[in-house]
Symmetry: C2
Subunit: 443 residues, 2 copies
């Protein structure tokens, strides 16, 4: 990429053309996003047509939109026309409806109808990530005929490594891999070697569930069928890797109390980031009013014994951290399918024991810190340590149980985000602390 | 799977044998882990040999170890012998050294040496996830010869869809896909169609970087070479999906201040969970002593104006949440390659604007809550709102900058976990709050 930028600066266009043809499309797309619009257009015009299409499909969505305003309408139409079907849908989803209309105006009626159907699949559904470019075979074919068909139609297909056997009504009857075809005798029938126990999904299934199946069954491609088992598309593993990354980002953002967006950080505007972050912060701040109310309630106690308040930040922080550990572990365990709702009691029992051990150890450490190293009285050191045991146990129980209940009632467990749990815990910590204090100091 | 368990309970072993052969290996492995040891052994003995090997390779590592104690040593040896090379390495890594020795005692010397070499690759390196079962071709071959070679040796290979062209010293000269072979004329030379500009990794490269390359270049397999460019193995996309999931889990755990482990939740012991969680909690609790010291310092102030302390939990909570948003966004943006260290200043500038907007809006809300709805004085409501603006700006700046600095000095950005940042912020919030209060109330 360095060399590309150098040649570009030195205006050695002949060398540049040769150099570019040795590069990979994703690298060229990356370079184009970094140079000026003029230079980016220059690079693009040096590309052989096939490579240009591939480069375009590897651009970030927002850059695709930006770039398509640099080229003229005819160039754009030609480019979009050459895109793989799924890349075409992805691009058309990004641009305004009137531009979609313009681009599709010379597209044959039946393809246009298909494109509109695909544009209407809900976001994050299997339908929204599938493509129609697959190899279909018939079960009466011999292996030789099947391979000949692959040779004939394979060049434009998203994959030729998994082929789909359909009947005359497009119903999916079996799946056969190119490996099985290549390793079988040429006179065998497709029917005899195809796999009838295949894994498939429906158009409206969630993309996250599709990704789980790829992971579990080590698939390279998966058929998508409609409610009547007719084959409508396939999903390939490269798109699933993108889904996995997207879903991870969604989980991370949700767990930190942010709304989901697909923009990369540097592309996001200040207003966009504000909108993503403000709502949860506001909700949680207002919920935190509850903690102020508790503190106000114990104002007299604090006034008469200000030293009491000195340990509140430590108690809240430590419990918050303990709760975050439990909730994060649980959200992730649910996401990878390690635990289910029926495991709730064994989880609670385990967390009880772990949190008691942790609480006891931290309480011991804290007692040393307060009574032996610090200047606190025995009683206060004891009360704070006791509170620590109680609040850590609470934190672990709530942190692990809430994501399970969220999942149970159909919410994303990640919504029981660390911020939410720590806000709940802050209130509980204060109540526990003041209750225990009142018991021992007899107010 | 329900049907399998039913047939098992009704002891209809004949039907069970037929039913099992229609199931997928991962489902059978899952079922075996759920039933009793006796039943699991029974299912296993009903499996055709090939399927048995596949089922074993799909078991969770800890269950593999458990299960291999149920079968006798000869069965185990045979089973392990039949495993794919990478699955074999994964299994041998899990079991005690003396059992490895026993299992390998009849293995030929050269294979044993190879296995030992693979067992020695560092954890999380490319070498630790690669396999040796690839198809190698020579550049002088015709396409026909190449396809014949694939037919001859392909059955045991991890993939036949990407083939590797090596010279006599095993140096990698090019890559060719089965698609290119199938779509080319049979008399073409491999040399003419192979891809010389291939993406490869070295044995000691980190698996996370390997996964990034799969994602960027949409690969199905990638060659692993040694320092002299000799082909030593390949990595396939199914293993990379596992790596992606593993790395995501590592990031989640690190961000919640837990040590990494590969055990699933339900498999983890109480002691194991304790060891994972205690160290960070203890470190952070002791760091939180700093907050106690600040509170002690302002004890007189709090005693004379106990109502001051009522807003501390809200201030710390809200700033902590704001910091968590920024740090999570940044850790994830670094992980997916969206931002780099050179973007630091543009990030700080963006965060400054976003946090000012958010701080201002939250301060406004808070002022209404305290002065208009609540019973606070104008001055205190104002002071708390002002503190909110200052601490949210601090939180966003620290939350976004610390992960970048961690990355810069070679640490995992996720180590600048939310717990770490919220502990730092707690102290800063207190200092800010008391400083501003002292200014306005003239203590």
């Amino acid at each position: 990429m360095k060399k590309l930028l150098e040649l570009l600066k030195e205006k050695k266009f002949k060398d540049l053309r040769i150099h570019i043809s040795t590069l990979h499309a994703p690298d060229i797309a990356e370079a184009m996003a970094e140079v000026s619009q003029k230079e980016s257009l220059l690079i693009f015009r040096l590309l052989p047509k096939d490579l240009a299409v591939e480069v375009f499909s590897h651009m970030e969505p927002s850059y695709q939109v930006e770039f398509s305003q640099l080229i003229n309408e005819d160039e754009l139409k030609e480019l979009v026309n050459e895109l793989n079907f799924d890349d075409k849908i992805d691009y058309l989803e990004e641009i305004p409806a009137n531009l979609v209309k313009k681009i599709l105006q010379n597209t044959p009626e039946n393809e246009r109808r298909l494109i509109n159907q695909f544009l209407n699949y809900p976001e994050y559904s299997a339908g929204s990530i599938m493509t129609i470019e697959f190899v279909d075979l018939k079960k009466r074919m011999t292996v030789r005929e099947a391979i000949n068909r692959i040779r004939k139609i394979g060049v434009d297909k998203e994959t030729i490594y998994t082929c789909y056997v359909t009947d005359n009504e497009r119903k999916l009857e079996g799946i056969i891999s190119l490996k099985e075809l290549i390793l079988s005798s040429e006179d065998s029938k497709v029917e005899a070697i195809m796999n009838k126990e295949f894994i498939s999904v429906e158009t409206h299934d969630n993309q996250e569930d599709v990704a789980d199946k790829f992971l579990k069954y080590d698939l390279l491609a998966m058929p998508v069928v409609d409610s009547e088992n007719r084959l409508v598309g396939i999903i390939t593993v490269d798109d699933i890797m993108d889904v996995m990354e997207e879903e991870t980002t969604k989980d991370f953002h949700m767990m930190a109390g942010m709304q989901i967006s697909e923009e990369s950080y540097l592309e996001s505007t200040v207003a966009g980031l504000f909108k993503k972050r403000f709502p949860w912060l506001a909700v949680l701040m207002i919920s935190a009013t509850f903690t102020s109310a508790i503190m106000e309630h114990y104002q007299a106690l604090i006034a008469s014994m200000a030293i009491l308040s000195a340990n509140i930040p430590m108690l809240m922080g430590t419990s918050g951290n303990a709760g975050a550990q439990a909730s994060t572990l649980m959200v992730r365990s649910i996401a990878v399918g390690d635990v289910e709702f029926r495991d709730l009691f064994s989880i609670i029992w385990k967390e009880l024991r772990v949190s008691f051990l942790i609480g006891l150890s931290l309480a011991f450490l804290n007692f040393i810190r307060m009574y032996i190293i610090g200047n606190y009285t025995f009683l206060l050191s004891f009360v704070v340590s006791l509170t620590l045991i109680a609040t850590i146990t609470l934190a672990k129980l709530i942190g692990s149980a809430l994501p399970m209940f969220a999942k149970r009632i159909g919410l994303d467990p990640a919504i029981m985000a660390n911020p939410m749990i720590s806000t709940i815990l802050d209130a509980l910590v204060l109540i526990t602390y003041f209750t225990i204090t009142s018991l021992f100091f007899h107010f």
